[in-house]
Symmetry: C2
Subunit: 326 residues, 2 copies
């Protein structure tokens, strides 16, 4: 069977996914809205090969051992089940999402895997079906099938919990400056963090309600080219997500003193008239939502406040691309 | 008129006061429960003197200037109004609450002032009346009139928003180890912090509800000598208070990386079988609720984790004492 390659880009959530209403199917508690990013992506090639005694997975040039393959094997099992085949696969994947970028790579990784594996299994999935499939590898991967602004409807079953495009390509100037506070693996991984919040945080239900209630306003902000409303909603959503982690059991906290210093720096820049807003995922890095024309002013302030911190700039990116290797 | 001196001790809230339902009368949104502390107190002498052209305030040996006296003058005006006198007062106050202890001194300060000023004005106030009066200087001062475990009922008017004793003296072993993370003045003072939370935090109402709902369980824990329930409720209440500050407008945060390190150290000690719990007020210092018999184990762990941090140990203390100077 032929080898297929897929390239999928990572995304940053403006309204977050943080908790599963159904952990088996990965149905989220919130409808989330994200921006797919051009600069960071995963490229994955899959070929089903009758000769293989088991799945062979090569990640960033390294052959994974049996115990490291389990999550990907389970996902390939799902593809085989849908395609009605039993053949093992060779998967070669390269992550162009540097760890230091502070951006999750599982979104682009499982989106690319869904695209390459389904094509290699001769399934002809449309983007919605690809999104449903990718979701079952990693929730946020459902959004990385699409480019630009994307909404993942939380849904009530595996069919209607699916992402769709809100605006692609993005026809207005928006960028994300990630300030790297730490490139170390986080102490609490997303999966167990969101599970703890879901089960134990007394503020969790309020966060879910606020997130879902913010969806229409976020959609309108995107439709109206309104960076200030978009940024304000995103910053508020991120802070509420982090705040409720602090009261889970045990409590946990991704934001460090430097994260807070950056959040305050963003506030100060805003008081000076710039349209800049902060968002933070499951880690200490602060992502500054801003306009490209304000990059220099932001960088100057950052250089004064935190001269040692590295940054990465990302702009809106495209949806998944899939091709046959020849 | 004769000079009277009052000594009032500071207190630590186990269920917090953080926000005013009525800012004029200082009626709180929550019923709070505290422990009065033996080691930290304010001693204040007040004498009304016909010869004085204005109130004369000497705080820790320093004569306050006109603009520094305003809050105390307003409180003395309240006492004069209640007593039906117009005479100015000489007030000499010494705070035995070192700044570095990380404990608020306004509770003991306004409790002692209420006691000394009302006695000097020949008002014979019972503890409940003193509590109502002290409340109007600083909310938490209402609790410092009483010793041991104290409850301040939030109430609905100036009469029923008053503290009362839950248990005094405290007949079981409980102590508070304050770990001094910073002895600098806080960036956001309590008054404006709680006002911001009250007005702007989307989690504020949940915090108020959880606090008020925790009152019966905290009362039972105190009555039943149940340090673990008391500590668990106190730690949860403090974390929820801090979490909702993070989503006020603007967001603010008193807890630093070191505060979180100490919270985790307390968790670790608990996993090792010790009954230790953390609480934090409007600042980064962490107060460890514990048993005196566990002091050495806690100090050993602290010495290993944060060898440079200073500590202060406090035990249950008495209610206000008032005497005539002769």
């Amino acid at each position: 069977m032929a080898a297929y390659t897929a390239r999928a880009h990572t995304n940053i959530a403006l309204l977050k996914y943080w908790g599963k209403a159904d952990a088996q199917l990965i149905l989220p508690t919130t409808t989330s809205i994200s921006l797919t990013l051009n600069e960071f992506y995963t490229e994955t090639t899959v070929e089903f090969d009758e000769q293989l005694p088991h799945d062979q997975i090569i990640l960033n040039g390294r052959v994974l051992k049996a115990h490291e393959r389990q999550k990907i094997e389970r996902f390939l099992d799902l593809v085989r089940q849908l395609a009605g085949i039993k053949t093992y696969a060779r998967m070669v994947s390269i992550n162009h999402v540097p760890t230091a970028a502070g951006l999750a790579s599982s979104a682009s990784a499982f989106a690319a895997l869904a695209g390459a594996a389904s094509a290699a299994a001769h399934m002809s999935l449309d983007p919605s079906d690809l999104s449903r499939l990718a979701r079952q590898g990693s929730g946020s991967a459902s959004r990385s099938i699409f480019g630009g602004f994307v909404q993942w409807d939380r849904g009530t079953d595996s069919n209607n919990s699916v992402a769709h495009s809100l605006k692609d390509p993005v026809d207005w100037p928006i960028q994300l400056i990630t300030v790297i506070v730490s490139d170390q693996p986080k102490a609490v991984d997303s999966r167990s963090g969101m599970q703890n919040a879901f089960s134990n945080s007394p503020y969790y239900q309020a966060w879910v309600q606020h997130t879902n209630n913010s969806v229409p306003a976020m959609q309108a902000a995107i439709a109206n080219y309104d960076l200030d409303t978009l940024g304000r909603l995103a910053e508020q959503n991120a802070l509420e997500m982090h705040a409720q982690n602090m009261v889970a059991n045990p409590p946990f906290n991704y934001l460090t003193d430097t994260s807070w210093g950056l959040i305050k720096m963003v506030q100060t820049l805003r008081e000076q008239g710039l349209s800049v807003y902060a968002t933070m995922d499951a880690g200490p890095n602060v992502k500054i939502i801003s306009r490209p024309q304000d990059t220099e002013a932001i960088m100057t302030q950052l250089q004064q406040t935190y001269p040692d911190l590295k940054t990465q700039i990302a702009t809106p990116g495209p949806g998944i691309q899939i091709w046959e290797e020849v």
